[in-house]
Symmetry: C2
Subunit: 383 residues, 2 copies
């Protein structure tokens, strides 16, 4: 449909690889390294060393990227005994992406550059339960406003994030809690038609985790993003890429049992971490809520050998300290008693982006394919 001449969607779809796929893979790889390097950029020899490609291949690839306007030269490096190298950097403004966070009561829309930095932000009230027309109209209005300011740089597409459950691959909503009429609604296609742009849909927690994964080295590193808002969910980044599970159902962190003879949860079972956590929040016992969260975080770290735990969501952002302390303590306790690996406890931090983490991450749904960041091992096929 849309005029996206960047055919970088390497190794997508069918598993067989041909020359265009090879080219796209390497181009995305180089572009991803340039993005991670930031304004200082990377020299051709450095790119060659990191990719394993020959310097000559890197020269050809970067020449193509420069011709497309995606990369540019950025000064010279100090000499190391020979001709000084030319640094190459990403041209962030060459393309833009739009991220939409469709929350229950508010829409947040951002326009970001290629680096993923937000260059424009808009907010609007939203009543998710009010139905499709209201949502589509609001989204269209905000996206149009964001596009009006763009300085000619093409907008690649729109990433949309909303509370789950939903199916990322088809872009269809399932039973959104508190809004049963949305069940089965093809939100992705509806948005794409209304906005006239390609749309990618995902859960809010997944989008946020994908955005946070920008800080990781390529293809490595893992973390769990725990999101405590009106509910409790998680986004999992394993081996450098977002793990969605076959039905976009991964990250249902809130209904794990941590006290099997505990109080009954809304879901019908007992001792769910979400019930324990939210009950503590309701009685203003934030350390208690953090303890419950910490038990779940420890289970997560233990099961998936995760490097890092990041916290976010409205409830956490309103008063981060007790949550950070409580979860840190739970993981330190785990490190003391078990001491797997180095014995150093897994670090806990507040997720970058604050209240904009989900919207920023939603834009990343569009950008990630350009940089070869696999946003989802396990799409789960038929047959």
């Amino acid at each position: 449909m849309s005029s996206n001449d960047l055919s970088f969607a390497a190794f997508t779809g069918s598993p067989g690889a041909n020359l265009p796929a090879l080219r796209g893979h390497n181009a995305a790889l180089v572009l991803g390294l340039l993005r991670a390097a930031g304004a200082e950029g990377l020299s051709r020899p450095e790119l060659a060393a990191r990719t394993g490609l020959t310097p000559q291949a890197v020269s050809k690839i970067t020449a193509r990227l420069r011709a497309e306007g995606l990369a540019a030269e950025a000064g010279r490096r100090a000499s190391t005994g020979g001709k000084p190298a030319t640094a190459l950097r990403l041209v962030p403004g060459a393309r833009h992406a739009i991220g939409l966070h469709l929350d229950r009561d508010e829409l947040t829309a951002v326009r970001t550059d290629l680096a993923g930095e937000a260059v424009a932000v808009r907010r609007a009230p939203l009543a998710f339960e009010a139905g499709a027309e209201h949502l589509l109209a609001t989204a269209a209005r905000e996206v149009t406003a964001l596009r009006a300011d763009a300085d000619g740089a093409p907008v690649l597409g729109v990433g949309a994030a909303c509370p789950g459950p939903l199916d990322h691959t088809t872009g269809v909503l399932h039973r959104v809690t508190g809004a049963p009429r949305w069940d089965g609604f093809p939100l992705r296609d509806a948005l794409a038609e209304r906005l006239g742009l390609p749309v990618v849909l995902d859960k809010d927690t997944n989008a946020a985790a994908l955005g946070l994964a920008r800080d990781l080295p390529r293809g490595a590193g893992s973390f769990g993003y725990l999101h405590l808002g009106t509910g409790l969910g998680a986004g999992l980044v394993l081996g450098g890429s977002l793990y969605r599970g076959p039905r976009t159902g991964a990250g249902e962190f809130g209904h794990q049992t941590v006290q099997w003879d505990g109080p009954r949860c809304g879901c019908g079972r007992r001792g769910c971490i979400e019930a324990l956590c939210l009950a503590a929040v309701a009685r203003d016992d934030l350390p208690g809520a953090a303890r419950a969260l910490g038990v779940g975080a420890a289970n997560l770290v233990e099961l998936l050998d995760i490097d890092r735990v990041l916290l976010g969501g409205r409830t956490v952002l309103a008063d981060p300290a007790p949550f950070l302390d409580g979860v840190t303590e739970a993981l330190a306790d785990r490190a003391r008693t078990r001491g797997t690996g180095t014995g150093a406890p897994v670090p806990v931090a507040l997720a970058r982006g604050g209240p904009r983490a989900v919207a920023d991450g939603a834009a990343e749904l569009v950008l990630a394919p350009l940089f070869g960041t696999r946003g989802g091992a396990g799409a789960g096929g038929a047959a």
Copy 2:
């Protein structure tokens, strides 16, 4: 080191892809499809459809595979209105692999063909705590015996599986429970030198899970393999490939908290699922043990959106029915209360292979790279 002329380790190491990597990728892909197709094989047009490659490319690739002796023609298909297609199949006997299960009190060694089917099995008593020389000597004796019977087909290497924790990437053991002297021992390299073959080392649960992953369609499908023996561990297959975590620490299923005010576990914390489960086994309350296992399985399914749960390990194999029933019931209960996705409960089954599951899987550690089966997203890099 060893003369492995099959350079199919495509896209290994450095992320940059070149023509040999492309070729290796496609060759492994085709070989993997042929393996999955079994004795009936697959025709060239079918391979083309499944890979997305052109029929001509498939012809070239399969011609190379036939020249190497890895594939062969296998009769004709019925005509569909034109020239009948020729079926191609894997030649299972073209190469062999050896799998070693180094358990605390017993060694199981298998020699398998390319299809992963065991063609020879040996067992020997083993005292893991007796130290390196005893272990290496026993392993060398059994491997030599297995190789003696091989009918000239090259043995690609040895996969070795033992109780964790250990580091798959370096092949070094950590603190094996009950045998502290093993801490830091480079078992993989010691075995490789003694046996004169390439060796891959992994946790027993990971090996078993990798072996079981053979039954999945390529690149899709996920399951958790729960192994209840002297301890309780798990192997995770996500998106069709084994997930080890950055430090080979994933799958530490036993020390997840499911009753945070429960009885104290050997690890120092409270309410670990392993403690609850083994205590129930000790008092011959298998349904109780199964219930504890079921709670953990439900947490796992919920968190990772897993397709299937497989059970194994000595304790389960000794009397499978109560465990299958208990875990099935726990997952059915979860499906009733939550009903994520289709609402159908996640199926539970006994892991294929029985007492040989780990040894068979260990051989798969050697075979998997030939077929492009990614045995471990997230090897975790430095920097």
